[in-house]
Symmetry: C2
Subunit: 361 residues, 2 copies
């Protein structure tokens, strides 16, 4: 792979970071003017957003914008950077729902405010304070993402086009999140159901819809837009599923120093992923016994993690998921062969695809 797309992505990432920094500085000032009690709120979102993240969603959106004929424009960078605030909402609420203690090797938002409750010697329940603050901070991040998009400085026409798509993307995200929560509460597993959740929760939201947002920002003509929307569905949907499957594997086999989560965290949480559904489908009685004993144990130690990892590998589920990721990725990359995607857009999108599905984060 040439260095060129990597350099371009690094440049975009810096500009995305710059816009997020500016926006959050303005908002911190705004909240501070309402009351100094709000400074820790602004600081927590600042630190959450500025210390980590690959900026995948803004990068996919911007790459699609350029591929669809948009010219380099800082206002568009600002518009797509808003997706990071939406993602912050999803992660803050997700960590609270999953009772996760860490995110990017730091305390998750509700734990952070639990700690503040203790440090500042506040009254009442620390865990209620942490949970309530995380609910509100997620809501605030969701509203901020809207405001950052609305005030990005893109043309009125581009903004109006993007609103429809943006709303639909967010509804799909919430629907996918609910399907996931509901799945965890069912007694049976199903590969088909887990794949559908992966599609809504991550596939569409993480890749296809950001790409579509970029297309809406670039193209006014509905017929021309339709051509690119279709190409990016063909590219984005399989790639999004591959991305979620990689995430499943990292949740079980990933290195904590790169995932930012404890080893085997998804096993401890009992997360009903496609990987686990495939493991169930292939497990013999003894292997089912191991799963029944360890999967979803909140105090699972490294011995239990290893036992489950062995079952997941021995059933062939791990390899099957790796194969599926490769197959989905090849299908995705095929879609970039269309004449409408020029060489530099092709290089940028391929590089992003390889970042999305790579084995370490």
């Amino acid at each position: 792979m040439s260095q060129e797309p990597q350099r371009a992505l690094a440049d975009f990432r810096i500009r995305i970071q710059g816009h997020l920094t500016d926006y959050l500085a303005q908002q911190t000032q705004y909240l501070g003017d309402i009351g100094s009690e709000l400074i820790p709120v602004a600081e927590a979102i600042n630190s959450f957003l500025l210390d980590g993240g690959k900026r995948l969603r803004p990068l996919f959106a911007y790459a699609a914008y350029l591929a669809a004929g948009g010219s380099d424009d800082d206002h568009v960078i600002r518009a797509v950077a808003s997706l990071e605030l939406l993602q912050a909402c999803a992660l803050i609420h997700d960590d609270l729902m999953d009772a996760s203690d860490t995110r990017r090797n730091k305390p998750s938002m509700h734990r952070h405010f639990e700690n503040i409750h203790a440090t500042d010697d506040l009254s009442g329940s620390a865990s209620t304070y942490g949970a309530s603050t995380a609910i509100l901070l997620g809501d605030l991040a969701l509203v901020w993402s809207d405001q950052m998009l609305h005030a990005s400085g893109i043309s009125d026409a581009a903004l109006l086009r993007s609103l429809v798509l943006h709303d639909e993307m967010r509804i799909e995200l919430m629907a996918g999140q609910f399907l996931d929560i509901h799945e965890q509460a069912l007694t049976s597993t199903s590969v088909a159901r887990s794949l559908k959740i992966a599609r809504y929760k991550s596939g569409k939201y993480t890749i296809e819809r950001p790409l579509h947002l970029g297309v809406h920002l670039a193209i006014a003509d509905p017929q021309k837009r339709k051509i690119y929307l279709d190409i990016f569905s063909e590219f984005g949907l399989p790639l999004g599923e591959a991305f979620q499957l990689r995430d499943d594997l990292l949740g079980v086999f990933g290195d904590p120093t790169t995932t930012g989560k404890p080893a085997g965290d998804d096993l401890r949480e009992g997360k009903r992923t496609v990987l686990m559904a495939m493991t169930h489908d292939r497990a013999d009685a003894r292997q089912e016994g191991v799963i029944a004993r360890y999967f979803g144990e909140s105090d699972l130690d490294s011995h239990g993690v290893d036992a489950l990892r062995t079952v997941i590998s021995d059933t062939g589920a791990r390899e099957h998921v790796e194969d599926l990721i490769e197959k989905l990725t090849l299908t995705a990359l095929d879609a970039l062969g269309r004449d409408e995607i020029d060489a530099s857009a092709h290089a940028l999108l391929s590089e992003l695809a390889s970042i999305a599905i790579r084995r370490s984060l």
Copy 2:
């Protein structure tokens, strides 16, 4: 008071209800197409939204729209009806944060899904399932409110004007909610702090900002708009504070059949309202003892509720809050005396003011 504004408000209320019904029917279909598991989600928001509520925020917005020269327009009704979905988000998340069991005499959203968990014999923790679902349904209601506004059919120019105001309103709401959560965790009380929370959490969000939204929907010219925005700040801010103070009184003295909450619910929750801050300021040692014993006791019985009510009345705090409501309301109504507000707008806004601060709901 003439019957005319009451008839007009009743008509607007029916049209608001009609638009909410239509929108939710569309969204139920949309979610059902993603997965039948999502039908209970759509039904729960339907029932939450269509079975109750005075529609105060849409009515204030529409009254301001008409007062500022807008002509009767069903698209604008649809746009302002979206405020009910934003309010649904606030209430669903609020009930979860406060661990409230009931809303409008029915189970609150998290309790409703706790019950579904039990009825459907789902696995895992019912309370975690209820809490997670309530977080996601609040998020979904917030996104729906956006979508309903965006797709209301108002002109592009009106929509673009309204976005700025709409974003600011929602940020103020979340800031006010956090200040409220934080206040509950402090060991001291303060009338000044509680008044500020009342202003952000309810005053601006419930009355001033909906009025401003109506003005933005009606007026394109910034200078003319400014005149109406100022009038409606003069009217809306004191009225909003009066509204919150009435809410404080209802939370302590209100009749459960009209509040939809158990008697003395705010006392059981230990809610740090302006009313309670004033009670603290005026209480003698014996009365402080009663407060220390009963206030915030989660299993407070009717004896404890009566003891606290007696202290709140005996200190004079109740009467003082009633006086303050009257004073704030008179200040608000004064603002309607301006030439820019014609007789029919005056009648409509006065009627709404009296609904907002009336003693029973």
